[in-house]
């Protein structure tokens, strides 16, 4: 489990690699919270490398999204596939978040 972050113009891209379950999700949470603490306003989470996400992982994403919303920031996802995509569908996260097919299209949309 690891999270890589990079900055594309004013959008911060966090790439999550591995599993987000009850054991590993706290690390992702720490990284995302520290990004928020730095005052990032546009956060794109790239889930291309996400193998598995549990309800604890969803909760972390939700918590991050809620904090972002409180300060009128934008948080979006890209590259949903496999299990993660299924979980997003089942849990209705598609209806809560903006999900892009790729990082490029996300950056194009968010960059405006």
């Amino acid at each position: 489990m690891k999270v890589e972050t990079k900055k594309e113009n004013e959008v911060t891209v966090a790439t999550v690699i591995g599993r987000m379950d009850a054991l590993t999700t706290s690390e992702v949470e720490r990284t995302l919270m520290s990004l928020l603490d730095q005052g990032e306003m546009k956060l794109l989470i790239d889930l291309d490398g996400l193998d598995y996400i549990s309800s604890a992982g969803l909760r972390t994403l939700l918590a991050t999204a809620k904090r972002m919303k409180q300060r009128s920031g934008i948080m979006a996802f890209a590259n949903l596939k496999g299990h993660a995509k299924e979980v997003f569908e089942i849990s209705g996260f598609y209806s809560l978040f903006t999900v892009y097919d790729s990082v490029e299209s996300a950056l194009e949309q968010l960059g405006r």
Binding site: A22, Y52, S55, L62, K66, S91, L96
Partner: protein
């Protein structure tokens, strides 16, 4: 061997071994060198002493040799005059104390002087006496002193012999032949002989003393002992005789070298010449006798031996003292260690108040004692804290147990739940991953014919999840009402839960209302896995999704409702993701496909039979891997509108 011994023993063994080794090295080195130095000194002084003695003997002999050589000229150059010869001989004795007799013996002639003529002057007791050797009885020309120089045509010292008369002193005679020239032909005219007493030589030789038992002795050309501290050997023994008697071949060889006129230093074993010794021998050039100086090795080495003995005693005493010191030091180390070991034993038994030895020293033992004391204190604190924590944890665990019991008590677990003829058969199974889980299911009648079935999964586990679950369960039950669409119920519940929620805890909920009269099923889904519909004829498959998100996070979401119709014998399986996401040791998920397969393969198509089939498949799949998430299943089979028939 050493491993199980105490520190004292090990230290002593080590110190004594090392000390002994060092001592042996030093001792051996000094012994070797002192011995060699002494041997060198012996060689040097033996040679010097022997040469000096030889020189003195030689000087004494030469002074005697001069006399007959001088007289020879007189005799050869002067016409024969008995009175003059008599005076000459008298003068010789008077002027040379060493000489005890002198003779001028003429070769007997053929016509005249047939008996020979040999005036002899000798020392009598108090005076100098004269005699004529030539007589009827004695033919002096047959005596060795006359014959040997005559035959050898040169001066010659005789073998030692005892003089006749009362004094019986040991003598040796130096004889010099003299010649007359007549008719141009040189022929032997006689022999001048000088007797000397060997007392003076004996005095010179016996003055040689080496330490207590060292001595010198002289042997003649034949190997006869001439002087020796043991007077019984003088003239009675030869070196060859002694060698023969002792069977000592090396002594015989030595004797040969001595009479050949060689010189050298030889070690002598114990034998006829005394105990083990070193002997230096050198020839006396004048008469070819040989002088030997005997050095007693044992005596010479006595100093070395004494030195070695003292060194050895000192070493033993030193090692003993060292051992004593080691014992004291080792005890000073081991005493606190032993006390410490005892104290540690007490502490090990749980007595943390056991007193530790007080060490005031700053050495390693002191440091260890200090560390040990710190350990005891922190161990004591730790154990106290641990006891408290354990007690607290036990309290929490017992509370958790109670919480689990309460949680389980609010979930209906009695099957069949409804009497036969209700029109529905149900079965459920819940297995929390921890003591208190976040899954739950519920079912209840809204009115006489409408049955609500709920399955939910709170996004956490433990007590917080169970509280959230209880709230959710209560809310759903409170908000559900006849005629109210399931989606509207979830909308209301979501708003209630999400308002002011700081925890970001959410719950996925599937909520369905089955009309038992018609088999019509209305449902709403808040982010939960779509249940599986198992028609009595046909393959199991998930029901249609509603696309609504999880409940309890974001206010104002409108949850939609969908519907489908169950025919008698159709079954709906509600489950949580603990089923499909059960992981085995290789990290493989149980999966949706496997769930569908196990459901259709179940031998017993009843709700309990199918749940049991899935349960067993899960157990096989997990291979003993720890359960990561709560596992919950609720199966509802529609039996047909039986109530309608009865009613």
């Amino acid at each position: 061997m050493l491993r199980n011994r105490g520190i004292v023993f090990k230290l002593i063994a080590l110190v004594v071994t090392a000390g002994g080794f060092i001592f042996l090295c030093v001792f051996g080195y000094s012994y070797f060198f002192s011995r060699r130095t002494i041997e060198e000194n012996i060689n040097e002084s033996a040679r010097n002493l022997a040469q000096a003695t030889v020189g003195r003997i030689e000087a004494s002999l030469r002074s005697v040799q001069k006399i007959p050589l001088n007289d020879r000229y007189f005799v050869e150059s002067t016409p024969l005059d008995p009175a003059a010869l008599h005076d000459l001989l008298f003068n010789v004795l008077e002027s040379n104390a060493d000489i005890c007799g002198a003779a001028i013996a003429f070769e007997p002639g053929k016509r005249q002087n047939v008996r020979g003529f040999a005036p002899y002057v000798y020392r009598s007791e108090w005076t100098i006496a004269f005699t004529e050797l030539a007589s009827e009885r004695i033919d002096y020309t047959l005596a060795d002193w006359y014959q040997i120089p005559r035959e050898l045509s040169g001066p010659e010292w005789s073998e030692p012999y005892y003089g006749e008369g009362q004094d019986r002193t040991l003598k040796s005679t130096y004889s010099v032949p003299f010649y007359m020239t007549a008719k141009g032909q040189k022929r032997l005219a006689g022999v001048i002989a000088v007797d000397i007493s060997l007392k003076r030589l004996q005095a010179i030789v016996s003055s040689v003393k080496v330490l207590q038992t060292g001595y010198a002795f002289l042997i003649s050309q034949n190997g006869t002992v001439v002087t020796h501290p043991r007077s019984e050997l003088i003239m009675n023994a030869t070196i060859f005789g002694m060698a023969e008697e002792a069977g000592d071949t090396s002594l015989r060889e030595l004797g040969r070298r001595m009479i050949k006129g060689e010189s050298g230093l030889v070690p002598l074993g114990p034998g006829p010449l005394g105990s083990a010794s070193l002997m230096y021998y050198a020839p006396i050039p004048s008469n070819n006798w040989s002088l030997a100086v005997v050095f007693p090795v044992a005596e010479l080495m006595a100093d070395v031996r004494r030195f070695n003995m003292i060194a050895f005693i000192l070493a033993v005493a030193g090692l003993a003292a060292l051992s004593g010191a080691v014992v004291i030091i080792a005890h000073s180390i081991t005493r606190p260690l032993r006390t410490m070991a005892q104290a540690a034993g007490h502490i090990a038994e749980g007595n943390f108040d056991a007193p530790l030895p007080v060490s005031l020293s700053g050495d390693e033992v002191g440091v260890m004692t200090k560390a040990f004391e710190d350990m005891r204190i922190s161990l004591k604190d730790y154990i106290e804290r641990l006891t408290e924590t354990t007690a607290a944890k036990q309290a929490i665990e017992s509370e958790l147990k109670v919480a689990r019991e309460i949680q389980m008590s609010i979930i209906p677990k009695t099957f069949p739940s409804f009497p036969a003829g209700t029109g529905v058969d149900m079965h459920a199974w819940i297995e929390p991953a921890r003591d208190v889980g976040g899954d739950f299911y519920d079912f209840f009648f809204l009115d006489r014919s409408r049955l609500c079935a709920i399955i939910a999964d709170v996004s956490d586990k433990g007590v917080p999840a169970s509280l959230f679950m209880a709230v959710t369960k209560t809310l759903i039950k409170a908000k559900a009402a006849p005629g109210k669409a399931p989606g509207d119920v979830l909308t209301t519940v979501n708003n209630e839960l999400a308002t002011g929620s700081e925890t970001n805890m959410f719950v996925t909920v599937f909520f369905a209302v089955l009309d038992l009269k018609t088999g019509e099923l209305l449902y709403a889904n808040g982010g939960h896995n779509p249940p599986i519909l198992i028609r009595s004829q046909g393959k199991p498959m998930p029901i249609e999704k509603t696309g609504n998100p999880v409940v309890g996070v974001i206010e104002g979401i409108e949850y939609g409702s969908k519907g489908l119709t169950l025919y008698p014998g159709d079954m709906l399986l509600l489950f949580t993701d603990g089923v499909t996401e059960a992981v085995n040791l290789r990290g493989e998920l149980f999966g949706d496909e496997r769930l569908l397969k196990e459901l259709s393969a179940a031998a017993d198509p009843s709700p309990s039979g199918r749940i049991e089939a899935v349960r067993q498949a899960l157990a096989r799949h997990s291979e003993g891997a720890p359960q990561a998430d709560d596992i919950t299943m609720l199966a509802v089979r529609y039996e047909g509108p039986l109530m309608e028939r009865e009613g």
